[in-house]
Symmetry: D3
Subunit: 139 residues, 6 copies
């Protein structure tokens, strides 16, 4: 069993807020992250899968394939987008890094499973000082 | 003469577009950076000043002072903001990295001069792959 | 269960030595790290906590709260200090990265528990080439 | 139990291919990584060991010792070398990052065990976007 | 006048040697970099151009255009290649970082000039510890 | 003319203070950097030289030679040392980054000149947020 990780990046706008709260309450809970006019980040996404080596290729899986899946299922939907408004898999969810990591996991999981490997971790940096990791709901 | 540089960071939303162009024309010229619902970045700002050493302190200037100026004049105005809508010194300007670096220079210059040193360079990273540098209009 | 990590930094002096050994013995065991006149590092500290998401906020915990705890309990005590002499929670301990990580864990644990989340890992970089990780004594 | 990690680096040439396949088949499976004239990387290697603290030194182990082992058993054999042709412990194996990480684990394991600590992880970066981790065959 | 920089990366094999010298002489002068079986690097290339802002776009130039030129004229020719054998613009030259940076400058210059901006600097990292910069022969 | 840069690192303790001032005055001017029990940093040093290429080697100079000079004249004297107390070339000077960069320039200059190249810049990072650059007194 070997773990292999691919890094991809995306730049997006978002806002932390609950629509049923007014701006004052949102500001109290979410601070400047609730700015009604949005702010944004250069997100860094690390996707780790694990599996046995294919003896023919010496690969867990072909990283080009993993990169293609991440690009198709995630990056094309979030890069240069507004996470709150434009990302189908984030509809109805608070645009926190935690929720974003879980949603990315759920988007990737069916595609990763088809490759015959296990999805191990979705790690998402919001800034150089803050990141989240999600290992699935069985963890 | 010694150069000294302070790094500060801010996270902001922006959009590249001209209001007199329609979305199609904006898309043609600015690509995905023209997304009407905004996107955003973790900007990294490096401000370099130069001057003679103060023999009492061994400093060009006290970096705490430089940091305070950058925070007050720039970071508090752009961090967790929408550059197009909310930043006074960017009103009426395209929110490109180039224009942002020039505007930051112009905001900082009067304060830096008061410290008895010269503003040498404003360097602004938009992503790990793209950055601009501005050395003033006499360059 | 989601993991979330906050990075904080501090700059400190230290020395590896045992007072019951003479300088020669200390030099033999600890090498240049035993220099009697001290040396120092820019330490990077990553604190990882884990827990269930608060459905109201989409957070494991508010990172500002985690940052405040790390600042109050750790950074204010170690930043620009001499770890051997001035840090209360390192008194009587060898100032190795291992001991420092364990002591940081023990300082943080009661505060983290109060937030209703679990402390998962304290990771401490001494240089770009060396770091330690501590996961608690049950690991 | 504390984990401690040492980073070492090496620059090497390699090629992904199977000698029983022709260049066309190799190109189909391995893409540009199969270039018959080789290509290369700045590899970054992180070796993590774990163990109890030595109460006399406050160390899991002396990092100089760990560094010496990695240098002697790995770096001197791979740095500025061709991994396919010149590295004894890679003979007969596809020069993938996965195989390289496993082989490094196997080279290091007997030496690490002698130090009275456990080898926990071999992490190998091929590029800033791709890395593998190996935790041993019991994982 | 604003400077703008684009980073691109390539992974390549090379060897430092003079064919009229034997391996011993090459080893004496070039050390392990003369290994006859090649070694390689993850090169990082920073290309800086400078010019006046286009008032319509707020750009010195469109970075997509700059990226496309670097990809077409440089990266496609050097990435996953052997610099000594396969790169047309390095034929007959020692594959040092200095010569590579100068050759990249000469390849890019005619294309950059067509965009109405000036080529300012080609900066090439061979490792995290070593890089060269070339500012043209008029410098 | 090509510029070439070598990075070296050192870990040292220091303190900013003037012995003719009391601790209170030192604290007022230098803040926490005046801590009487010292603090320390992982310094990163970038030394840039420039010159014409040697047509035989394709080098400005052999980087091993440059590294050896920096190691011998600087790193061996400052690494794991107390800059205020133990570094001959800092005696009688305030241990600011500015003074340290100038002193490093002066130590290196005679050795660099012997190699037939020019010393262009000494760049010294004290933290990831602060660095100084010195280009000599003719600048």
């Amino acid at each position: 069993m070997v773990h292999i990780t691919r890094r991809e990046r995306f730049n997006a706008a978002h806002r932390l807020f609950r629509s049923e709260w007014d701006d004052e309450k949102n500001l109290e809970i979410f601070g400047k992250c609730s700015n009604p006019n949005w702010h944004g980040h250069n997100y860094e996404l690390f996707v780790t899968v694990k599996g046995k080596l294919n003896p023919e290729t010496g690969f867990v899986l072909n990283l080009k394939e993993l990169s293609r899946i991440i690009q198709t299922k995630i990056i094309q939907k979030v890069d240069h987008k507004n996470i709150n408004i434009e990302v189908d898999f984030m509809q109805g969810k608070l645009a926190s890094s935690e929720n974003l990591a879980i949603a990315i996991w759920e988007e990737l999981l069916p595609e990763i499973v088809k490759l015959g490997v296990q999805l191990h971790c979705v790690k998402l940096f919001e800034t150089e000082n803050n990141f989240v990791e999600y290992y699935g709901d069985g963890y």
